[in-house]
């Protein structure tokens, strides 16, 4: 799959990290780790800014984290008008890795709180787009 399948609407067609979308299709949410210096990245990168290596491997992201912060959008940018309200947030996995994504619509907005335990899962939209989302732990 191409990277144009990523997210509600992708703005990037070609990237060396397009395998991320294939992995999502297989039910996996993965970042990249540098095989030279061990630096871990999420979102994934195909090049290491720490040691300038281009030799990266995929690794499975942790699944248990806490919600560091979030926001609920009641207004959307051009191209996303059908979606509000939707909530986006940052998960801290407490091991140096964080992740930004939307929260699952299955979580009532009133239940969302900073510090809550959360997990992540891949997500397929009806139009074939593929993404990942934050869910209740």
């Amino acid at each position: 799959m191409g990277f144009d399948k990523f997210g509600r609407k992708s703005f990037t067609a070609i990237t060396k990290t397009a395998k991320f979308v294939d992995l999502l299709g297989e039910g996996k949410i993965e970042g990249t780790v540098c095989t030279k210096c061990g630096a871990k990245y999420f979102p994934p990168r195909s090049d290491c800014s720490a040691c300038l290596s281009k030799e990266m491997e995929w690794f499975a992201m942790p699944t248990k984290g806490t919600l560091e912060t979030f926001t609920t959008a009641y207004y959307a940018p051009f191209g996303f008008e059908a979606d509000p309200p939707y909530t986006m947030g940052v998960v801290d996995f407490n091991d140096g890795l964080k992740l930004f994504a939307r929260l699952s619509k299955a979580i009532p907005i009133a239940d969302i709180a900073v510090g809550m335990n959360v997990s992540i899962q891949p997500l397929k939209y009806d139009d074939g787009q593929i993404s990942f989302e934050i869910i209740k732990a």
Partner: protein
């Protein structure tokens, strides 16, 4: 204080919705005022720098087009961009060119005509000023990004919606007396009351950011004319000197950001560098312009600049210390919130305000006590680029 590079002329268009003219004509408004302020002609100008955020108007490579319209050819000209802090970056480059001895006088002109596209298109463009590969696919936009910081501040630092509202009430106080501001109306607490059906500021945009927490999009231009010491003494009755310049950058993706409750790292980084260069501390600053694209952004700026301790910015607005009569007056021209935020013009407009303050020419916005040191804090993107510039008489 080193007196190497001075501001010898400042200009700004009215900040408006739907400017009745093209970007050339918009740029001319600020340029004309700054040239008249400096009392120079185009022959005195060695180079020009144009600053805006791309994709609002259709003109590609605007520098050449605008330089011609302003009568600044055949001198060298080019374009500088760091989204919302573009014109601060332009001034930094202009300062460097003069310091290096390349030119005696440099014109820095910031402009933005935002009204050529709709508000939702504007949100999309601003969202694409962040991480288009990994974040824009979720439907991000500027208010949502700043809301992530506001939410963390509310959860961890005891920030309240009332604190955020009070920042806006302050801005509106001064927007009313600034003839150049796009939002001239007063705002009262009832306008933020969710139980009041006529409350125009209460509606959620990206919770916890409400309509009233967001700055006003505007069309506008600003112009700063810089000169070396020799020309400054020859041309300017009241030169205002650049004492310090600081800059910083931060990871674009929210997943790579440090603790959200600690604010924008670029504010701290740019301030530290600028204070060091100027040889002053936060206590020496008598008047400041900070990047209040959202109310939370002003509160974070108080902390990054050292006007308040980390997490305690709210105390300053609670005590009204950032009003004109307070300990450290901030955004007494209405700020981005009420004066307006024509992206590429914003930094230059902030600098104009500070220069007028130091020249004791700020009219109804003048801070009492003849301020001698002023500061401009200008942020590009969601704390992606930070710029702090310190001015002295």
């Amino acid at each position: 204080m080193a007196k190497d590079v001075a501001v010898i002329g400042v200009g700004q268009s009215n900040f408006v919705r739907g400017y009745e003219g093209s970007i050339r004509e918009l740029a001319f408004e600020a340029f004309r005022e700054a040239m008249q302020d400096a009392g120079i002609t185009q022959k005195d100008v060695g180079a020009s720098i144009f600053c805006s955020a791309p994709e609002y108007d259709k003109q590609r490579s605007p520098a050449g087009v605008l330089a011609e319209y302003l009568g600044l050819i055949p001198q060298p000209t080019f374009y500088i961009e760091t989204v919302c802090s573009s014109s601060s970056s332009g001034v930094k480059v202009g300062y460097s060119m003069i310091k290096a001895g390349l030119h005696d006088v440099v014109v820095v002109l910031g402009f933005q005509k935002m009204s050529e596209i709709t508000s939702s298109e504007s949100q999309e463009r601003m969202g694409r000023g962040a991480d288009i590969q990994w974040e824009a696919p979720f439907g991000t936009m500027m208010p949502a990004y700043y809301a992530l910081y506001a939410q963390a501040y509310m959860a961890k630092n005891g920030l309240t919606h009332e604190d955020m509202m009070n920042v806006r009430l302050k801005s509106a106080t001064y927007g009313q007396v600034n003839e150049r501001a796009v939002y001239r109306k007063g705002i009262k607490a009832a306008d933020f009351d969710p139980n009041n059906k006529d409350a125009k500021m209460a509606g959620p945009v990206a919770w916890p950011i409400r309509v009233g927490d967001a700055c006003a999009n505007a069309d506008g231009s600003s112009c700063i004319i810089l000169a070396n010491a020799e020309k400054a003494k020859a041309f300017a009755k009241k030169p205002v000197w650049i004492m310090g310049i600081g800059g910083a950058s931060e990871a674009v993706n929210m997943a790579a950001r440090p603790d959200f409750a600690k604010g924008l790292s670029v504010g701290y980084g740019a301030a530290a560098e600028a204070y060091k260069m100027a040889g002053i501390t936060a206590n020496d600053v008598k008047v400041a312009e900070v990047h209040d694209c959202f109310t939370i952004a002003e509160l974070m700026a108080y902390e990054g600049l050292g006007f308040a301790k980390m997490g305690e910015g709210k105390e300053l607005i609670r005590a009204k210390e950032t009003y004109k009569e307070g300990k450290i007056p901030v955004n007494v021209d209405g700020g981005l919130l009420s004066k307006g935020h024509p992206i590429g013009a914003t930094g230059g407009s902030q600098m104009r305000t500070i220069v007028l303050q130091l020249r004791d020419e700020a009219g109804p916005m003048q801070v009492p006590g003849n301020p001698d040191i002023g500061l401009v804090h200008n942020v590009g993107g969601v704390g992606l680029y930070g710029s702090v510039t310190i001015f002295g008489r």
